[in-house]
Amino acid sequence: MKKKMDFFIASLMIVILVFSVTGCGKENKVNKVNSKGDERDDDPIDPIVWLTTGDMAAKPILPDDRIVEEINKRFSIDLQVQMVPEGDVTKVNIAMASGDFPDIVTGTFGSSATNQWINDGLLVSLNDYFESTPNLEKTLTEEFDWTTADDGNFYGYPFITQYKSTNTTLAFRQDWMDKLNLEVPKTLDDFYNVLKAFKEKDPDGNGEKDTYGITSIKPIGDFNFIFYAYGRKYADYQLDDNGDVIPHFEHFSFKPGMEYLRKLYVEGLIDPEFLLNDRNKMEERFYQSKVGYITAPLFRHVSRLEGNLQKMNPEGKLGYSYPPEGPDGNKGFAPVGKSGMYTAITKKCEAPKKAAQFIDFMISDEGKNLVRLGIEGIHYTKDGKEIIYNEEERAKDNFAENGWAHPLAWGSFSCPLESNYLPATEKSRERALESVEIASAVQVPNLITNIPMMEIEYGKIVEDLYNQYFIDMLQGKIEIDQGVAELSEKWRAQGGDKILEEVQVIYNNNK
């Protein structure tokens, strides 16, 4: 009897153990959609696995997604999208490093890992398929002709964020301006006067001088627009009179800019807490009527910022404007983007032509409409020019609410801002688009289009150095002349010289 019991318990444990190993070991395929109704029988269906960081906030793609089905039908493929959580490229890099190649891969543009893929010959040259991919050819050769590899071929489609447009500029309390009878400042002097009025004339009407002019975001705030006003030309590196590449703090625009900022700081026009602000905190101070100006991304945030502001102050109104001009009429705010995503086809892909056509489709107008609007007659209908969204059908394919897009729409090939896309249903649509127009008009170009390798290596160290000196000079812990001299010496010694050297070479070659 006892032995039987023993045997029973022992076998039970074995069963549990085996079950727990195998039971969970099933691999579940995602987004496997068989294309049905494919008419061309001679064209076999090729599975295409696409590993991407994608749009981290999008909903998952459902198994019988009609958008994926439509794409499958078009190219006789069986598209399987694998989205890495958290937009974390680490996983993409590990997958590639371990030999687990997808057919199409999206990684970071211009990172050392992506460059390694090209150098190791893991990617397929897209030039070979240009005949059947007109959009791809046009975009690569006309817009990104600087993204060729050493052998002169294109190995992937770059999606550079904030490349042609941006949405970051100065946002302010329009209701305060109106109350104090102020005009939107045009010059640095006007700007100073407005900040001063915000500080001293009690714009929130609580009888106390407890407001500040402007706040920003850690670590050192977004105050470069002052330097651009004083004549700084490029967002990344500057040229001196001899045509040599120098860091921006050695440029003639730096000292007057720093003196101006120092004046604002000493007079209490800059909120000293900006050093601790994350984006949330910065916005809170704006809603709480503690500051009049913030440096913020707008576009879709126009309605959100104003909505939150009005919850606290029913009279609140959001304004946005060009940054102030310097003595010579210069102005600028957000830099042109340099980094982004890079989508390429791997050598493992058995149907590279179809994969290239798929990428071509995704960047074409037709493809963009498919992932934004859906299929006409199902996800939306047209009434003249007006688009009527069928939210019920859209929800079935996990489109985002309120006329927003399909999970495949953003992140790999474009973002709403880059494509200036806002659904017709968006609140404050006109103002959102206007804010982008303003911000993009004062976007600041770079001296060189790519990120040099030395900057990838030493960039963080020299940036920390700069940040530390910037704060010390702003707060008056060190005189500006002395600060610049010391910073210059240390910056160059700790890797800056190597960066400059490389930038100089790239700049000379491009000239």
Partner: protein, 294 residues
């Protein structure tokens, strides 16, 4: 009067020291508790109340909207379910493996015991590294399945050592007595050893459960389907801005108000916190684990 006689006079220095201790520890306690309290208060506030001040000591107005929003969010429930599976299945497997291994290795007459132990401890000192691990998971066909979050961490060497040492300290005579009374080997494990090792076992269960509940990095690596995200991944996507998506106007849960995020945080920590009181009494004994024998 009598009572007074018997009391031992506490020196003033010692009293001052005690008072200082109480004050100091209370402050530390409050500092530890405040973030939690703050999150709790914020999660109960409507957004305009939240925005009014930066310090939230008490909810001025109570709104259940953040919770009702979160409760209606499908993604939250999916990730909740995944985490529950990982925690329950994972912890059961963890305990099964750890108890059986530890018991066998605690047998003094087991041949080659030192060598087996050496190999197990070796894995604690030197690991294969990220990419080899990834390849193993991939070749075992566990990519994108919850098994990848359960099987590779089925046994923790550290916990194994603790439990083995506890079993080691159980007198041999107990088992011999059971044997004489006719108990089988497996019977001894289940009827004698496990019941008297309750403090150790509950403590280790707690260690495992919390680790499983908090699984994050392996999910980033091995899971790519949103329907298989554990809770921590979902939470992170909610709490940390992805600057690119946010700035460029992409969909972002980050754009939700702080109260909703805090409601999600509360919902994620409360269940695992509720486990603690049940384990508390064993836990105090459990702290002594492994301190006795090595």
């Amino acid at each position: 009067m009598k009572k007074r006689k018997n009391t031992i006079q506490i020196p003033t220095g010692s009293k001052i020291f005690d008072i200082f201790n109480y004050i100091f520890l209370s402050i530390v306690g409050i500092l530890t508790l405040y973030p939690f309290w703050d999150a709790f208060v914020v999660s109960l506030s409507p957004i305009e109340e939240y925005l009014k001040t930066s310090i939230h000591l008490w909810p001025t107005k109570i709104s259940i909207e953040p919770y009702s929003y979160m409760l209606n969010l499908r993604e939250l429930w999916i990730s909740y379910w995944n985490t529950i599976i990982v925690t329950v299945v994972g912890t059961s497997l963890n305990m099964l493996m750890t108890i059986m291994t530890a018991y066998v290795l605690s047998k003094k007459d087991l041949k080659g015991q030192r060598i087996i132990m050496f190999f197990i401890i070796f894995t604690m000192m030197f690991s294969g590294g990220l990419i080899p691990l990834y390849i193993v998971i991939k070749n075992l066909k566990m990519m994108n399945s919850l098994a990848a979050l359960i099987i590779p961490t089925a046994m923790s060497t550290y916990n194994l050592i603790i439990l083995r040492n506890f079993f080691y300290s159980i007198p041999q005579s107990l088992e011999e007595a059971a044997m004489i009374d006719g108990c089988s080997e497996i019977g001894i494990l289940f009827k004698i050893v496990i019941p008297i090792s309750k403090p150790a076992i509950t403590t280790i269960t707690l260690f495992y459960a919390v680790t499983n509940w908090n699984q994050f990095f392996s999910a980033v690596l091995y899971i790519y389907d949103k329907n298989k995200w554990p809770l921590q991944l979902f939470l992170r996507s909610l709490l940390f801005e992805n600057d690119m998506a946010y700035q460029a106007g992409g969909e972002s849960l980050f754009m939700l108000g702080q109260p909703m995020k805090m409601a999600a945080v509360m919902m994620a920590i409360i269940p695992i916190m509720c486990v603690y009181p049940f384990f508390q009494k064993h836990f105090t004994k459990g702290v002594m684990l492994g301190a006795v024998k090595g």
